[in-house]
């Protein structure tokens, strides 16, 4: 299977070098509130890594602990094989792109970018040369003498990137880097960021609550909920094979088969997840199921046209509802369907994933 293969390649790459970041038993409490509850993970050198989770899930706290702005309540942080847990931010080879960009308003764009080099006492000529180079990398060469408040949001974003990258850090941390941009700019910046990361070869760790952003840009994703990692894996693995109900619900549309219905359809009393686009919709009810398929009869309750695709909501005879997503490609399933029509669903066994049924996960699904 392609998902497993992808995971294996990344795992193999990871064996060669020490991880850029290793978190071990990382914990953080604010007073009595537990923000991060014991996180273990390795981020490989040169990886584009996303921490995906709802607001308040603790993902930003993890990022701030890696940067050094917060001291962990327990556990260790290792950067490139070196324990940095107790070190101040200025002693770590890590730079951050802040959510509000945090450009210094009293300095010009060029001075902003050269700041890290100035602090390191790089001679003026070299400093300005490198700053200009970084400015060209983000294609804002003409804006060197502007002040940050004369720039648009997207431009500020790129200046913040250039300022962090000019020092060639081991790791770049990005806190909701595209959160403040409008949709069109965000889509453009997603590709640009990905391209930039490939060019500079620096490990990027970014925090986002936008599942599409995480899926589009990352090599691997850690889905974080209530201070815990729910699942780590490649985008396809996370999307196609969610291990918990939370992941199934937070990444993509939740489409769950409840234990009672699953007992009749799958033959096992457990919760299962099927992605809506993996399900086929049939009007001929009698056709027998193929051996590697599951099938379930039901009643079509809703037909929602969304442009490129149509969403069908089907109430299963076995109980519960499933969504089905079909591309409006004009070739298959072209016949119009009416609500309350009797239909039959079928999907391949390999797209049917058992969900770990811990009580905490059950309760968090509703929160999405």
């Amino acid at each position: 299977m392609s998902v497993a293969a992808e995971t294996q390649t990344i795992a193999a790459q990871r064996e060669e070098r020490p991880p850029a970041i290793r978190l071990h038993g990382l914990r953080k409490s604010f007073g009595t509130a537990r923000a991060v509850a014991g996180v273990d993970m390795d981020i490989a050198d040169g990886e584009f890594f996303a921490m995906l989770g709802p607001s308040g899930s603790g993902k930003t706290t993890i990022l701030r602990m890696i940067a050094g702005f917060e001291q962990p309540s327990g556990g260790t942080i290792t950067l490139d094989g070196k324990d940095v847990t107790g070190l101040a931010p200025f002693q770590r080879d890590v730079h951050t792109v802040f959510q509000d960009y945090a450009l210094f308003p009293h300095m010009t764009v060029l001075e902003n970018i050269a700041y890290g080099l100035r602090v390191r006492r790089v001679p003026k000529d070299e400093r300005l040369g490198r700053a200009r180079e970084a400015l060209d990398t983000v294609r804002l060469g003409d804006y060197a003498d502007r002040k940050p408040n004369q720039l648009s949001g997207g431009q500020r974003q790129r200046i913040a990137l250039a300022r962090a990258l000019v020092n060639r850090p081991k790791v770049l941390l990005l806190d909701e880097p595209l959160g403040a941009l409008d949709l069109k700019l965000r889509t453009a910046m997603q590709l640009e960021l990905k391209q930039l990361q490939r060019e500079v070869g620096i490990t990027f760790v970014f925090v986002t609550h936008d599942q599409e952003e995480a899926l589009t840009m990352s090599d691997r994703i850690a889905v974080i909920n209530e201070g815990n990692i729910e699942q780590i894996g490649g985008p396809a693995e996370i999307y196609e094979a969610p291990r918990t109900a939370f992941v199934a619900g937070f990444v993509g549309t939740s489409n769950l088969l409840e234990p009672a219905a699953a007992e009749q359809i799958v033959g096992e009393r457990a919760t299962f997840s099927v992605r809506p686009e993996k399900i086929r919709l049939h009007t001929e009810l009698a056709t027998p199921a193929a051996p590697d398929e599951f099938t379930a009869p039901g009643v079509l309750r809703e037909v929602v046209f969304t442009g490129p695709s149509t969403r069908y909501v089907v109430e299963l005879d076995a109980g519960g509802t499933l969504s089905v997503l079909r591309q409006n490609d004009g070739a298959t399933n072209a016949e119009p369907r009416r609500a309350n029509q009797k239909v039959r669903l079928s999907w391949a066994c390999e797209h049917n994933f058992r969900i770990a049924s811990s009580t905490t996960n059950e309760s968090t699904t509703g929160g999405k």
Partner: protein, 297 residues
């Protein structure tokens, strides 16, 4: 009754729409009172001051003689005493401003960055409280403390030092104490508006505490320090009461004005002396404007 109410409503409606359609009239209504105050009570008084600076006093009758001349300015600039008093006043005003800035910054920094919301409120009240106490009482309190056997002398004695006694040092201390709140509050407000992420960004880019202070925090809060300094500087420049109480024999411009109005009965000369602080303040504001510190106010 109901018709009456309805009519009144209609009248007030008419009045509202009358005003709504005439923005200039509304603006006039808004500004007439403050403009009257600014124009008559403030600018006119200032103009009268300047005009009377060019008059003289008949030394025999004590009457003000209204013929135009620059005699007052000539005697002001030719007399060395006035020159040294001017420089002393300027020095005290600058000194008080620097002392206040030096004390206010760490205080305001603690309040804005470390103190809890509750502690911040308590501290702001604590800073404002002395402003409710009488100016005279505070000045006399310092006179008592600075007396040869006073608190300051007693505290300094173990270190082999004495109380500075009454003079320029005592004036500096007393005025710094009196005007400190006017420096703390704007600096505190400025630091409160400084985004935490800027400090973090600086630290993140490799800057240690002192570098972050020099390159990010201070330049960002500088306009607030300037705002505070306008208070401390101008209040010190014009003060004469505290100087009289703790200043000993070293006079300031305010005392010269005071004695010319009172004992010497030479109002035109008092006006002439009073123009010096006005000119200094104008020069100061001009210099401040050049630094760009007023752009962000």
């Amino acid at each position: 009754m109901t018709t009456n109410t309805a009519q009144r409503t209609r009248f007030s409606d008419r009045l509202s729409s009358f005003g709504y359609a005439r923005p200039r009239l509304r603006l006039a209504g808004l500004l007439s009172l403050p403009m009257l105050w600014l124009g008559l009570a403030y600018l006119a008084a200032l103009a009268a001051l300047f005009v009377s600076a060019f008059w003289t006093t008949d030394s025999f009758t004590g009457e003000t003689v209204r013929d135009w001349n620059v005699d007052n300015f000539v005697s002001l600039f030719s007399d060395g005493v006035y020159r040294s008093i001017t420089f002393r006043t300027l020095g005290v005003a600058v000194g008080v401003t620097l002392i206040d800035a030096l004390i206010a910054f760490p205080m305001a920094y603690y309040m804005a960055r470390y103190a809890s919301v509750r502690a911040q409120r308590i501290l702001v009240i604590a800073i404002l409280t002395p402003l409710w106490a009488s100016y005279l009482v505070k000045a006399y309190a310092w006179r008592t403390m600075l007396a040869p056997n006073g608190l300051i002398g007693w505290l300094l004695h173990p270190f082999g030092l004495d109380s500075p006694g009454y003079g320029v040092t005592a004036t500096l201390i007393t005025l710094s104490y009196l005007w400190l709140p006017y420096m703390i509050l704007p600096v505190y407000a400025g630091l409160g508006q400084l985004p935490q992420s800027l400090i973090e960004a600086s630290t993140d880019l490799g800057a240690r505490g002192w570098r972050t202070f020099r390159s990010v925090i201070f330049p960002m809060v500088f306009p607030s320090v300037i705002a505070g300094s306008i208070f401390t500087f101008s209040l010190s420049l014009g003060d004469y009461i505290a100087v009289q109480i703790v200043g000993g024999t070293s006079q300031m411009l305010g005392n010269v004005v005071y004695s010319n109005v009172g004992a010497a009965n030479n109002l035109p000369f008092a006006a002439t002396v009073a123009t010096i602080p006005v000119v200094i303040i104008l020069l100061y504001l001009f210099a401040v404007r050049r630094t760009g510190a007023l752009d962000n106010l």
